[in-house]
Amino acid sequence: MARFLINRLLQSAVLLFGVSIVGFALMHLAPGGPLAIYTLNPTVTAQDIERIKVLFGLDQPVYVQYFKWAGGLVSGNWGYSFFGGQQVREIVLDRLPATFLLMGTSLALALVIGVAIGTLAAVRRNSVFDYATAIGAMIALSLPTFWFGLLAIFFFAQTLGWFPAGGMVSIGDGSLLDRLHHLVLPVVVLALVLVAQWSRYTRSSMIDILDQDFVRTARAKGISPSRVLVNHGLRAALVPLVALAGLQLPLLVGGALVTETVFSWPGMGLLFISVLSTRDYPVLMAILMVGAVVVVLGNLLADIVVALVDPRVKLHDE
């Protein structure tokens, strides 16, 4: 176990190293480079540009810049924003809880509902419920998240007025109820696609498992159908889905970005969009790296969970 963890963490480190190089290269290859916002501004003089370059260390060779930046990232000094000079780490980490709240709640909700729908659809194969949920999932998967978001705002916020149209808290109110009230629409919108995927995956995995010999053995014992379904069926059907949850993380991160934008949810996604327009590269890079770390660690966690629940899977060192 310890060896497996060390191995996987090393692999993750190499992966993140690669991501950081690609990200850094893209930032420098972008037209105008990191300072495009200044160089393209006619009121900023050439002398000003030179001054800013020296200030941000952009006059040094690219590899020196990279190692300074990467070294800082690892040691906790994430640099300073091009605009306002605030600490990047502060800016980004301030937004992290809001994003985690949104993603975590959506993921949990989606798992519970998706697995329930998928299981029921597998048990009642070819029933009205099965077809209805299949069509629903197809619609949810084929339409973009931002469109659902706008639709939700239009109906539930503007027309019906049931929920606030955006933000995390009302001004002058910070109660738990108020926060939950704000959470509902973004969570539902973000969870929608995940529910659609999970219900489909669960259904097909469950259908596979229910045809297995060991499910027949369980039924032959005379235990209750719900016990057969949950203890024998779901237990086996969910294993491949745990690994899948890890692979789904990038989708979740992307969905969170869109959802935060639509609902002005003050998380990392919204921050990303706003610094994208100002090309605040140190902040952009930090967000990219945090996103990558979340995805990589999430996958590692999924692998560990699989190994813990499935005795056939050994955590070996490849």
């Binding site: 297995q212 010999d213 060991f214 027949r216 053995t217 369980a218 039924r219 032959a220 014992k221 005379g222 235990i223 209750s224 203890n231 024998h232 237990r235 086996a236 294993v239 629940v309 499935d310 005795p311 056939r312």
Partner: protein
């Protein structure tokens, strides 16, 4: 063992199983006396497993007709909850492939415990104790340690012992053993059969032993029913059947047993043709492959008693 006086443990009358339009079992009747072992033989696809699964009511998407009285209770007419109370308690089944019959993610001991607690009102501790006793009874060394092992950590023979322990858990009066040794090594086969025979004698339960190995039938069973294409074509006491087989199909089966004293280069006689499409036949289903076929065979022969307790369905036997 099949005296007129003893009421049968199991009385199957006109059992019919259809998957859509295909009749896998076409109106068979037989009975099993308490403590009797009935062999059910026939080539692959003739409906042996289907017969057993129908009695367990474990078939899905199948139409079932006829009656099956177990100790006077008509199994095929029970509602699902009542049938569940019988499964494992009154009638249990051993499956063909021990490699897939056990749940891969549940400790073997716990799988036996589940079979016990499904019908007996006992504490978990007591169930654990009994499961260990059962493991010992089926010849598993160090049962306390083996209790916590997963199926993939055991050999096929060991797994089949566990499956047998599970079937024996609630001391059912009828045991359906569906090719319990087909998936095992030859040396292990003999051990498992010996174990099974010992246990069955000890408990005095009735058994239907499904196999296509006539050697097994000769050594273990009291009576044999030979199936062909969903119908029983001959049924007699084992010795009688081997001494005076009457149906041409039984003849063929007996001739196709490899003889120890025959030379290496002598081919084993086989029955020409295949069972394919036999259920579409209007007359005798074996007629297309039968050397003795005559005009009479265009009408289907009924199973009739020719000698004492010797039944055969063929027009061309004396």
């Amino acid at each position: 063992m099949t005296g007129e006086a003893s009421t049968p443990l199991l009385k199957v009358e006109n059992l019919l199983v259809a998957f859509g339009r295909a009749k896998a079992v076409d109106g068979i009747s037989f009975d099993v006396a308490p403590g009797e072992m009935l062999g059910l033989v026939g080539e692959s696809g003739c409906g042996k497993s289907t017969t057993a699964l129908a009695l367990m009511r474990l078939l899905r998407d199948a139409e079932i007709g006829g009656t099956a009285h177990l100790n006077g209770v008509e199994l095929l007419g029970l509602d699902e909850a009542a049938m569940r109370a019988r499964r494992g308690a009154d009638v249990a089944m051993i499956f063909q492939d021990p490699g897939t019959a056990l749940h891969p993610m549940i400790r073997v001991g716990d799988q036996i415990v589940e079979a016990l607690t499904a019908h007996l009102n006992i504490s978990r501790r007591e169930a654990r104790k009994r499961a260990i006793d059962l493991l010992r009874k089926v010849g598993i060394a160090a049962p306390e340690e083996r209790f916590s092992v997963y199926p993939h950590e055991m050999s096929g023979g060991m797994c089949q012992r566990v499956v047998i322990a599970m079937a024996m858990a609630c001391a059912p009066r009828l045991l359906l053993a569906d090719e319990p040794t087909t998936a095992l090594d030859v040396t292990v086969q003999a051990q498992i059969l010996e174990l099974l025979q010992g246990l069955v004698r000890e408990e005095g339960m009735g058994v239907i032993l499904i196999t296509h190995d006539l050697g097994v039938v000769a050594g273990m069973t009291d009576r044999v029913a030979v199936m062909y294409a969903g119908a029983i074509v001959e049924m007699a006491a084992t010795e009688e059947l081997f001494a005076t087989p009457l149906h041409p199909y039984t003849h063929g089966l007996l001739r196709s047993i490899p003889q120890l004293d025959s030379g290496w280069d002598e081919p084993v006689p086989t029955i020409p043709g295949s069972v394919q499409g036999a259920e579409l036949q209007t007359g005798c289903r074996f007629a297309p492959r039968c050397a003795k076929a005559s005009d009479a065979c265009r009408t289907p022969p009924a199973l009739r008693e020719i000698g004492e307790n010797h039944f055969v369905s063929c027009w061309n036997t004396p």
